[in-house]
Amino acid sequence: MTTPQALLLSLPCVPVAGALVAGLLPARRGRAIRAVGWTASLAALAVWVWLRAVVEAGPGPWVSLQAPWVPAFGISVHLALDGTGVLMSGLVAAVAVAAAVATLPFEPGLSRVHVVSLLLAEAGMLGLVAAWDLILFVTFWEVTLIPFYFLMGRGPRAGAAAATRFVVTSVTSSVLMWVGLLWAVRLAGGTPTFDLIELSARLAIQPEVPGSLVLLLSVACLVRMAALPLHTWLTVAVADVPTAAAMLLAGGVLPLGGFGLVHVVGRLCGPDLGGVGDWFMWLGLATATGGGLAALVQRDLKRLLAFVCLAQVGLASAGLAMPSEAARAGGLHLLVAAGLGGAALFLFAGVVCQARGSQRLVDLAGLWASHPFFAGMAFAAVASAAAVPGTAGFVGAAQVLQGTGGGWLGVAMLALALLCPGVAVVWAYRRVVGGSYQGDVWSAERWPRKRQAVVLAVLALAILATGLFPALVSPGTGQGSTAVASADTRGQAGEGTP
């Protein structure tokens, strides 16, 4: 086994090991348990960095590892990472580290279950990204839900209800995806196999992939991406669950829904998603627009942020469903932006709402006067959600825009999809940071903790870096700018001089 393969294998195993250790520690050793929690997540991130350093890019999977699991049914343990996978696993690892480091010590009523669930959830998501066998994929897809259930279950409000709702919708939809997978396997014919590469190769030579099969395959991803009208679980969930869970939901689960769309549906049904790609594009645009419009009328900070996040992921899915290469790259970029930004926003919102004891926007004001650094760092995420140039969100949005090919309707919906969430989130930010700070209604103890501020700053830096150096995340392709560049030169010629 080569070094990259070993690292690939240990990527999901490290958090599992951490979870085991944390689970075996006696419950009263809270400090040690927390330490294990954030150490394990940091270790996973370190493994990813190492892997990124040693693996070399290429067509197809960059690193791959395969072993038979149930040979009779063509099921194997096939872990692999291609460019997209490396990107998404990095995102998941980073978000998990942020959640662990920034929230673990400060969750009220923190317990061993919490830490173990967080680590297992991270492991599940990392495995999901690396799974190239469909049964393995479904396994991780569903097994991730159980830790999430316990992570969300002890929320500030009706956490358990939200968790049950999330898990039940998610599992039901994933069983549908499963039916779709079995159907696809039959459609592919030959000896049954669930290996993604093999299966997509067989399906590629099929005359056509039925639309209902595409629907069955993608409904699970749509649920996880909280695409309209399957979005209702998200708004309930993030408003009611602990900060760590909200960060992982916004930073991990939502983007991974889009990843599933690319990874499974995209590969099995071809880049045009079996001919129904246009529908997905319109669905994504509708989600983005609708989410933004709904965000405009929210009065609860976390719920507003939830709508903003789902709008951004919707836009990403629209880009991923477009035929053009640039748009797909933009969609991927938007997924990363949505992940980082969502994690940062919910960290900010979680800390602030916990300190104030309320999530209503009318109760929050004056942070610019009281906590300028913390508020300032959050602005990077806000700007990214508003697709302000120089942030990750802008790069993705611009690339997706190039993919629309300048159709009137597409551009109009894109404009709405960018305008509404942007206005909503910037307005909310202004409300929270502006105004006068009444110290007496806020929590007496010190907030935010240094660690939280640092994590937020790092996330903000990541958002700006991916915005200023898009090449870091995805090699974008662009035509739109050339026109303007030449516009300037042509402009100077015609320019008179006073």
């Binding site: 790069v395 303007v484 516009a487 006073p498």
Partner: protein, 586 residues
Amino acid sequence: MGVARFMAEAHVLLWIVPAISAVLLSGLGARLGNRWLNALALAGNGWTCLQALLAGVYFLYGPADGVGHPVIWSWMTLEPFGLVFNLDGTGAWAIVALAGVTLAAQLHAAASVGRLAGRHRFAALMQIGLASGAMLACAGSPLVMLVGWEGQALAAAFLAGFWEPEAGGGRTGMRWLLFQRLSGLLLMLGLFTLGVEEDLGLGLILAAAAVRAGQVPFHGWLPDIGRVPVPAGALLHGAWSSLPAVLLLVRIAPWVESSPWAVQAVVVVGLAGVLLGALAALQQPVAAKALGWLFVLHGGLAFLGLAFGDPVAALLLASGQAVALGGMTLAAGVLTDPLAGLGAVLGLPARFRGRLVFGLVCTLSLLPPGLTFLGFGRLLAAAPQGTLGKLALAAVLVAGVATGWVAQRVVRSLGAEPADEGLPVQRGLAFGPWLLAAAAPACGALVLWLNGPAAAGGEQAWPLALLGSGAALAGAGLGWLVGRGRRRVLPERLAQTQLVTQWLADTGLGLGAAVVQVSVVTARALGVIVWRVLGEWIMDGLVVATAYRTVQGIGMALRGLQNGNVHRYMLVITAAALGLVLWMLR
């Protein structure tokens, strides 16, 4: 050419210096004393202003003759996200105007709000706006252009109503924010669609410019000038909105000229702006709001200049307007509560009046050799013969009259007795108006000296331009007469007798308000539909809950059936067996 290269490389300092000063201000400002704070802020402004002036003179009159030298920062050349900077004559000129007005506003802020908490952030925001404006002016690629555009818009959105976001200022900022987000997005969409679908892209960019400049029908945010803190008000209506918009139009002038419909659109927008601006300004009893409408009016003129194919006229008009109206705002701001904006006139201790009146009148710059005067000249020279020419002349005259009228009104409001004699008026308050008062004619004179009469459209345009100046004086005189011998002329009587006209005047004859209200209400309604109706009622309520309840109902029914009563069990099972048999027998 080594010097040119050096100038080109060095011009990134135009935005880097104010950016640095912004960072320092917001980082250390809280600990700095007033003197150092102002020094830091003014340093950012001053540097930009001087360097831009030098660069402009070099590029326009040195060996470079107007053509810039692109600077590509190679570490960011990923299309379309390359950072390409390119300063040319136009950019340099725009930066000079921008930095000058910002400098004046900074001086005013130092005196008026220099004692308030958070003043350092206020100053930092001004610097950010300046830096973004400079970036926009020397943009060589879409990304830079967008960064500049959005940065200035965001900075302005935070400046507007800086001290009271929850109260009226919050609304002000919100409206501004809405419009500026819209303009930024339109610009972005336009820039990226321009290469694919030229007409669509051009239309989007024009719309972006119109929104930014507050041209009809996107002028809904203008009446809010009354609530913006005075220094911000002087900036974000002129130097930060009309000027960038015109600059953008100048950049895409070749596209505009190559498509007839775009030219017509710009003409229509410009004329509408002039007409509505003049009407609303004349209707306005409140001097501050009347000022607000003058921005629309002059913006419209600048658009006209562009439509007539003379970007220089547009630039002259836009910069002249930024200087003149900015100066008027600052001057009028002397006698108001700096936070409540121009809304509340407090009156002024007698010893200040004379100098301010002077400063105020001089800022008009409609008189030769003011910038606007030159702009008039070039505009009329460029105007085609026939109807359009006559319309242009009419526009110039209307503009003159309205400007004079409003200026006289502001002067008259200086006469009001101070509401509170003990009002502490900072000495520094007068610097800003004075600076701009000096700047307008000085720049005009400089341009004339450098380019000769051609700068004002040549000999044949002079008399017409002078007509414009005369119209201004006439307007002022008319206003003086009306104010003096309390005789009412129609517009004012209308304004004072009929609330409807008042409201119309406030909202730019209703149109702007309609645009704002309709869009906002529609958006909110749609949002409620998505959130409540689709999400909570249909999905959660109808689909999920109904399904769950149905299953639950079936369960309850079965449980009721299964009540432990044996003969009922037997009955059911026997019936079921019979049913099975019949079913299988069909």
